[in-house]
């Protein structure tokens, strides 16, 4: 409908222009100004004006000629200075005041009244599709109906011939006025910050011209009117969208065409070139999103060419419907992508993006994410992922969060593995492209991947075995070419059969997940190798530590070599280096019996760095340290006794310099170590001087040679007098070889979290001070005098000085 109407309008317009030209032949000078005036009128109205009231137009033109730009400006300035000049003149009659803006407003206005709810497509164009003469007739009638008062006097102007009285045709409806008044609306609205979600951005109207004219009209227009006008328009569009959507949902097969106007409302500009309200665009976007979420099928639509095959009527209808649906979906996605594109700036693009466009972009992005999550197997899911995933590197944290959440949901709900693989691959590409410039939070979503029970080693082994067996088989059975072909075809058919089965085959899923895992490790290893000094290192190490259980042991030696290099790199932060150590230890602890290696270098580094963490700024590091030592504890049987003893001693020392939650975790860890290793438990024994040779040297950087067996855990005695009651209890328990039951169930990291006092929540709660205790303490804390004579002196002074202080002096 839109197209049809547009053509009509332009035709009428052109008609007007040509007739005008003919009439005004020889008066070329006027042309510019004339068109100005003309444009202000409703296009269809124009011819009527021309023919019916010739004289009127004449006079208008005449003064139009004579009023050149400078004079206009002068008048404007006069008016602004002396508003009383116009006191008796209706305000929209100010000469020269009418801007292009006004014309636009009117145009925008025009389709509105005709655009009914529901299926309005025909209604609007109907009136316009009539022939010109018909239109003219109509307007002639209208014109006749108009009362004479429509002529208004204007300010006289001076010309060569003397003073010239002017009059102008009056713009009738006040609704127009209202429309006009929407302009300053914007500036006021920002102040008001109305709570209405839609009204948060009404910048649909704003363009440069509007902003300019806004200043002029602000005086005459009240904010209330503006708000009302805006609300009316919004209300109208809301109703329209709502009606379209609900009727579409009632019968999607028949009313699919309803999507067209909705998509049209998402456009930047309406068909007549005027700007669309951002709020309307948002509404249309979100509504279409909800509609699509409801009507899109879960499965992927596949279309072959049915043109030469005869189909049943129903099938044909369905096929047609699906095709149309896909087409609409595609258009919708294109629009979303275009709108969301604002978020990602090209290099060197320094144009400023205003807040409203930004919010529209965010809404679009959210819709795309929602569609990806809701219909991960439908057509174009790949395309959505392609346009969404790069936003992980967006500068705007809201956009990043949206996409991260989307990826998380996709990973959580995907039980087929396809879309996960696609997304992960896209992230891989992103990492490849951006390299170290990538935002560290971009990799957060990978941590939520559900990589479980995938045995990379087993996979490789099976593959290897299969290959060998196949070779063997080939040698035994020499297939002919024909047979080979047949076997190939059979395989294909079998695969297709599998696909049609509703349930996802476990095999396929595992295969996909294996691929996902490979890609994820690819990402991490690339970061480790190419950008070890960027902020991304921590993200990569976290990921590696998280997925140690599926790490391919083939990579292990590579990984250890890289990380060993990293921990000797001075340019990398202490925290990242600790993370390296933790990663290696986690991999080792996870690998279990498969690896019989002794990470001596990492042990030594951890041992040295442990004391760098204290209750101050480096408190967060202690968490990593505790986790690392827990990993050592987990494989205590594979670590030599001297190392374990050294670590036990160091953990005890560390406990004294951490806050209470760290100290508690350390004590628990010490207990676990003592349980795991006999050597450590001998340290706890009071009369353990069985260590033999040597003397403990805490300054030695090597845990193996520091003679920790000769050390005593005297720190526990100090901890038994700790300020925190639980620490006191735990320390004395550990000395006796037990642990308080409430700590026994928790791992050190859990304890670390549970007893953390940084949120001002104390565990156990601080008991209220007892009243009786306080008083007795006060008495006992009175001053003690060392010299009795001095006491006597003080008392005499005190007694002799009058204690009454007069306030008058």
């Amino acid at each position: 409908m839109a197209k049809k109407g547009k053509i009509k309008i332009s035709k009428v317009k052109r008609n007007n222009q040509t007739t005008n030209k003919m009439r005004k032949k020889g008066q070329l000078k006027l042309q510019r100004h004339r068109t100005h005036v003309q444009k202000q009128k409703q296009p269809t109205q124009q011819p009527t004006v021309e023919y019916s009231s010739e004289s009127e137009a004449e006079s208008e033109d005449q003064f139009g000629d004579m009023l050149d730009d400078e004079e206009q400006q002068y008048l404007m300035s006069r008016l602004s200075k002396q508003p009383t000049l116009l006191a008796n003149i209706p305000e929209n009659e100010k000469p020269g005041k009418r801007s292009r803006k006004r014309k636009r407003e009117k145009k925008e206005k025009y389709p509105k009244p005709t655009a009914g709810t529901g299926s309005d497509s025909g209604a609007e164009s109907a009136g316009l599709s009539d022939s010109d003469s018909e239109v003219e007739d109509k307007y002639e009638k209208e014109q006749a109906e108009r009362p004479a008062k429509k002529m208004r006097p204007l300010l006289p102007i001076k010309t060569k011939e003397g003073l010239m009285e002017r009059a102008e045709e009056c713009e009738d409806s006040e609704s127009e006025q209202e429309e006009e008044e929407q302009k300053p609306d914007k500036s006021k609205q920002t102040e008001k910050q109305s709570d209405d979600e839609d009204s948060e951005s009404d910048s649909g109207m704003d363009g440069t011209e509007e902003a300019e004219t806004a200043g002029d009209e602000e005086k005459v227009v009240t904010a209330v009117e503006l708000m009302a006008a805006r609300r009316d328009k919004l209300q109208h569009d809301k109703l329209r969208i709502g009606a379209l959507c609900s009727s579409l949902l009632e019968n999607p097969e028949k009313k699919l065409k309803n999507l067209f106007p909705i998509l049209y409302l998402m456009e930047d500009r309406l068909k007549d070139g005027s700007l669309n309200l951002i709020s309307v665009r948002k509404l249309a976007t979100v509504s279409a999103f909800e509609v699509f979420k409801d009507i899109l099928p879960e499965y992927m639509i596949r279309h072959q060419d049915y043109s030469n095959i005869k189909l049943k009527k129903d099938t044909l209808a369905l096929y047609k419907y699906e095709k149309e649906l896909l087409e609409f979906y595609k258009r919708y996605l294109q629009r979303l992508e275009k709108a969301a594109g604002v978020l990602r700036r090209k290099k060197g693009d320094t144009r400023k993006v205003d807040e409203h466009t930004m919010s529209l972009a965010l809404v679009s992005l959210r819709c795309m994410c929602g569609l990806l999550v809701a219909r991960p197997h439908f057509n174009y899911a790949t395309n959505i992922a392609q346009s969404v995933v790069p936003h992980l590197d967006c500068k705007d944290p809201r956009a990043r969060d949206t996409v991260t959440e989307c990826c998380t949901n996709v990973f959580a709900e995907d039980n087929k593995g396809d879309i996960t693989l696609i997304v992960v691959r896209l992230i891989n590409q992103l990492v490849k492209r951006r390299n170290e410039r990538l935002d560290p939070s971009a990799l957060d979503c990978l941590l939520t991947l559900k990589i479980r029970d995938i045995d990379m080693d087993a996979e490789a082994e099976i593959k290897h075995k299969k290959k060998q067996e196949e070779k063997h088989k080939k040698r035994i059975v020499n297939l002919s070419k024909k047979e080979k072909k047949r076997a190939k075809k059979l395989k294909e058919v079998e695969r297709e059969l599998l696909e049609t089965q509703a349930q996802e085959s476990e095999m396929a899923r595992r295969k996909q997940l294996t691929e996902v895992t490979k890609t994820v490790f690819h990402i991490y290893f690339r970061l480790l190798k190419t950008a070890p000094r960027s902020k991304l290192l921590a993200a990569a190490l976290n990921g590696l530590a998280k997925f140690t259980h599926v790490i391919n042991l083939e990579y292990y030696s590579d990984l250890v070599a890289i990380l060993a290099r990293l921990i000797s790199d001075e340019l990398i932060g202490a925290r990242e280096r600790l993370l390296c150590v933790r990663t290696v230890l986690a991999v080792l602890a996870g690998a279990g019996d498969a690896l019989n290696v002794d990470p001596a270098k990492f042990h030594a580094y951890l041992y040295v760095c442990m004391l760098n963490s204290h209750a101050g700024r480096t408190q967060p590091d202690s968490k990593i340290i505790l986790e690392s030592v827990s990993q050592i504890c987990a494989r205590a049987r594979r670590v030599s006794a001297a190392v374990l003893q050294a670590f036990a001693k160091r953990v005890a020392t560390l406990a004294t310099q951490l806050q209470h939650h760290g100290a508690l975790a350390c004590i628990a860890l010490l207990h676990h170590l003592a349980q795991q290793s006999k050597a450590v438990s001998t340290l706890l024994e009071a009369d353990s001087e069985a260590g033999g040779s040597g003397r403990f040297d805490p300054t030695l950087p090597s845990p193996e040679h520091c003679n920790a067996h000769a050390a005593g855990l005297h720190e526990l005695c100090a901890l038994a007098r700790h300020y925190h009651p639980t620490v006191r209890a735990a320390a004395s328990h550990v000395l006796r070889g037990t642990l308080p039951p409430e700590l026994n169930k928790m791992t050190p990291s859990q304890i670390f979290k549970a007893y953390d006092g940084s949120e001002m929540a104390f565990k156990p709660a601080i008991p209220p001070p007892k009243k009786g205790d306080n008083q007795t303490k006060k008495i006992s804390n009175t001053h003690a005098w060392a010299q009795q004579s001095f006491k006597v002196l003080c008392e005499t002074v005190e007694n002799n000085v009058p204690m009454v202080i007069s306030s008058k002096t």
């Binding site: 292990y556 030696s557 019989n596 290696v597 002794d598 990470p599 001596a600 030599s640 006794a641």
Partner: protein
């Protein structure tokens, strides 16, 4: 007791570096005084300078040995470490191998260590690097040369050799007469 020639010093230190890396200098600059290497009858002795001065009072013909024998130079002018050096080398060794109790005896009889006997190995051990062999209870029992890297060990055949035998504490009994 004579000072080692330049050539022989180089050979000796190359050999030691193979086992203990940069820690060689710790062998010489010790907190309890300076130690040095001296040669007598192709055997190299590790001795503190204080003791060396005392030993010089003995007539060279009458002096059989002073200090700890680290090894000997062969006729082809190669240095061979003796098990007697183990006490000094073991604490400084960066690469170690732990053998399972079942494989200890095999090693102590002078056999190579095979994969099935491997209890634990330091990560990133390079190929053909000197390693100190430990029991699972952390007692050094000899040294050898790694025939595979740590990574390769994982995939090795159970009967494949992991460490070539160089010296073991069993030699104190087996070749008592040749050790000085």
């Amino acid at each position: 007791m004579k000072v080692l020639s330049e050539e022989r010093t180089r050979i000796l230190f190359e050999k030691l570096t193979k086992y203990i890396g940069v820690n060689v200098k710790l062998l010489i600059d010790r907190p309890d005084g300076t130690y040095c290497f001296r040669e007598k009858k192709d055997r190299v002795y590790y001795i503190s300078e204080r003791l060396l001065h005392l030993a010089q009072t003995v007539k060279p013909d009458n002096l059989i040995a002073a200090g700890t024998c680290f090894g000997k130079f062969t006729k082809t002018n190669k240095f061979r470490l003796h098990i007697t050096a183990l006490t000094y080398i073991a604490p400084y060794a960066p690469y170690k191998i732990w053998v399972k109790p079942s494989a200890e005896q095999q090693f102590l009889y002078g056999h190579h260590i095979i994969k099935s006997g491997l209890g634990r190995i330091t990560e990133n051990t390079p190929k053909h690097h000197g390693v100190v062999v430990y029991t699972m209870s952390d007692i050094p029992i000899g040294f050898g040369v790694a025939s595979r890297t740590t990574a390769e060990c994982r995939h090795a055949d159970p009967l494949a050799t992991i460490v070539f035998h160089q010296a073991d504490v069993g030699e104190y009994i087996r070749s008592e007469d040749t050790l000085t």
